[in-house]
Amino acid sequence: MQHAEEKSLDISQGPYVPVGSAEYSAVVTFLYEEAALLDQLRLNEWGNRLATDLVYTAPLRHTRLGVDHAQSFVRSVQHFHDDYRSVMGRILRLSGKSAWAEDPPSRTRRLVTNVLVRETENPDELDVTSYVLMTRSRFSEHHVDIISFERRDVLRKQADGGFKLAKREAILDQSVLGTANLAVFL
């Protein structure tokens, strides 16, 4: 459909970093390590991977007709609208004594796939899109909450060869989320 192509306009149009190349593998490794840190509740270590100018957001989604597809992404009120300071504040709270929404903690799996990496105008930064299927199990509930989203990240290269997360937009699929809160990071 014609309008389906409009969606890709706000993703960088730089050349792809080839799948399987050394740089691509480094990016995928960063994403896998990050998923492990979050799933293993090593939040402070995850925090060390965030750039201090981080922009961290999660738009609302609306059910719209196909012709209005571009308006299905709502970036006024969002589910997350954070920066480095507020994300570190969240980590501080979750590491404290009384963050009951995640204590006892959820058991989560962040399955990260469909990773595409593009170069940007800034030689130190890469645009990275990926799909995430996150399962969240709480208490003795036999069903898990499924949180599915696309990440649109900007990773910034570091002198040591690693990356820092400079930007993350998590594009959730549900217009009405099927989980009781987002006390977990996307």
Binding site: H62, L65, V77, D82, A180
Partner: protein
């Protein structure tokens, strides 16, 4: 089965027997029983005024949003003359949903199934192939429109009811209106949404959230204890208690009404003292407004208040402003003053509805507001702060939405459902001397009275004819 005096459940239990007035208890069965839930859809959500959104969500002719009145989907649309209409989102032909999106713009709502078409006010326009008269000749066209609800705007908030001949919205608010006006009618231009609402599902009965929004102060001390442990709330002025002690925030005036509405008016003196270093008792109303404008307003905007509020209201607004509370049955409001790292204060203006989605499920719907003429910088700060503290990812309300499912599970136990919710912390104070406002008013450390009054009105409606 219903009798004139009391609704009776199929096992013979009267609903009124689940409420114990002498000991102020509510049997937990009310939080899980499917039969009670079905009755609520008729007797509560079919009768009271229900909040659906704010008119700033549909600013233009033809704009519409799809919302819920209890278990029914409704279309909220603006017509060419600018008027807002609420109609049942059910095609009168074969019951298909007419509007399938969350929002949009159209002058004609056309059902995708057989093509029946309706105006923004619900009037039937016609069906395809006019000469074949798909809609028949048995009923007049005027009888084939979408079912219309009675609706009203209050401070731009859209309320509707199916109770066409019932009490007016003003009667419904009753004495509590005097206080709500301080929030929703205080400025010249009024407030507007900063975007569409956040929506998410909590596996809990709607009343777990509903009764809490009737001004449950005590839960803040324990469930939200982190506010005193980390972050800006934990930084206290001299003589204000240490660290995690949130008890000074519990002191104020609590207002309730025979219609289950509730407001916590929290003492502002400490905040003014901290910001100005002055004794608030020696400041005039104007000086206090200047020192600490109402949540969401700036110093430049405070002159508007006198245009819209009485002197008595201004007195309350500058000493004991309503900050959190609810409107019966399923609304929470928060107009709160949030301390910042630099010692200043930024307001948050938020409202929620807890939409029933079955006995064990609710949809949490969260709107974020600002005054229309608030400066852009303030709006941006309010937007970010409110998202970070309230709603989906809000650091405060995360803990609430993880609590209500457990209460709902407890209420399903064969023994658990016979246990009770207790509202036995009772005020023995009454209104402060010289308190100018109406309603059931008590001062001091928070108590359970407002929530108990919420249940009394629930009981009254459930047993009404």
């Amino acid at each position: 089965m219903l009798t004139k005096t009391s609704a009776v459940l199929s096992d013979g239990t009267k609903i009124s027997d689940l409420i114990y007035p002498d000991t102020r208890e509510v049997q937990m069965r009310v939080l899980s029983d499917p039969e009670i839930y079905e009755l609520e859809m008729e007797k509560i959500f079919g009768k009271t005024w229900v909040m659906l959104g704010h008119e700033s969500e549909i600013p233009n002719s033809g704009d519409f949003i799809v919302r819920d009145m209890g278990s029914d989907s409704v279309i909220v649309a603006r017509d060419k003359a600018g008027e807002v209409h609420v109609t049942l989102n059910v095609c009168p032909h074969r019951g298909m949903r007419v509007a399938l999106t969350d929002c949009g713009n159209t002058q004609i709502h056309k059902c995708i199934y057989h093509g029946w078409a309706f105006r923004t006010n619900g009037d039937f326009v016609g069906s395809p192939v006019e000469r074949e008269c798909m809609h028949g000749k048995l009923l007049e066209k005027s009888e084939l429109g979408l079912k219309k609800a009675r609706s009203v705007l209050y401070g731009g908030l859209i309320f509707a009811t199916w109770n066409i001949e019932g009490p007016s919205f003003e009667e419904f608010l009753g004495d509590a209106k005097w206080y709500y006006d301080m929030l929703f009618l205080r400025s010249d231009k009024g407030m507007e949404v900063l975007g569409p609402p956040q929506r998410f599902i909590v596996n809990a009965n709607w009343k777990t959230a509903g009764e809490q929004s009737a001004a449950d102060g005590f839960h803040t001390l324990t469930l939200h204890r982190w506010l005193g442990e980390v972050g800006n709330y934990s930084k206290k002025g001299e003589d204000e208690g240490e660290g995690a002690d949130l008890s000074p925030e519990m002191i104020g005036v609590e207002v309730s009404s025979p219609h289950g509405h509730a407001l916590r008016c929290i003492d502002l003196a400490r905040k003014i003292r901290r910001l100005t270093g002055l004794n608030p008792d020696e400041l005039s109303v104007q000086e206090k407004l200047k020192a600490l404008p109402p949540a969401g307003m700036t110093q430049d905007m405070i002159d508007q208040l006198a245009n819209n509020l009485s002197e008595d209201q201004l007195k309350v607004l500058t000493s004991m402003p309503p900050q959190v509370g609810g409107m019966f049955p399923n609304i929470l409001f928060g107009f709160v003053y949030i301390p910042q790292p630099d010692g200043s204060v930024v307001g948050s203006m938020t409202m929620h509805t807890y939409i029933p989605r079955g006995p064990n499920k609710l949809e949490f719907c969260n709107w974020i507001f600002a005054e229309k003429d608030a400066p852009a910088e303030l709006r941006e700060k309010m937007l970010k702060q409110t998202i970070q503290l309230f709603g989906t990812s809000g650091m405060v309300e995360q803990d609430d939405s993880d609590t209500w499912p457990h209460m709902t599970l407890s209420a399903k136990g064969a023994m658990g459902k016979h246990m009770t919710l207790k509202y036995q912390a009772m005020f023995e104070t009454g209104a402060p001397e010289g308190w100018p406002g109406p309603g059931i008013v008590n001062e001091g450390f928070t108590k359970d009275d407002t929530q108990w009054h919420w249940w009394l009105y629930w009981n009254e409606l459930m047993n009404a004819e």
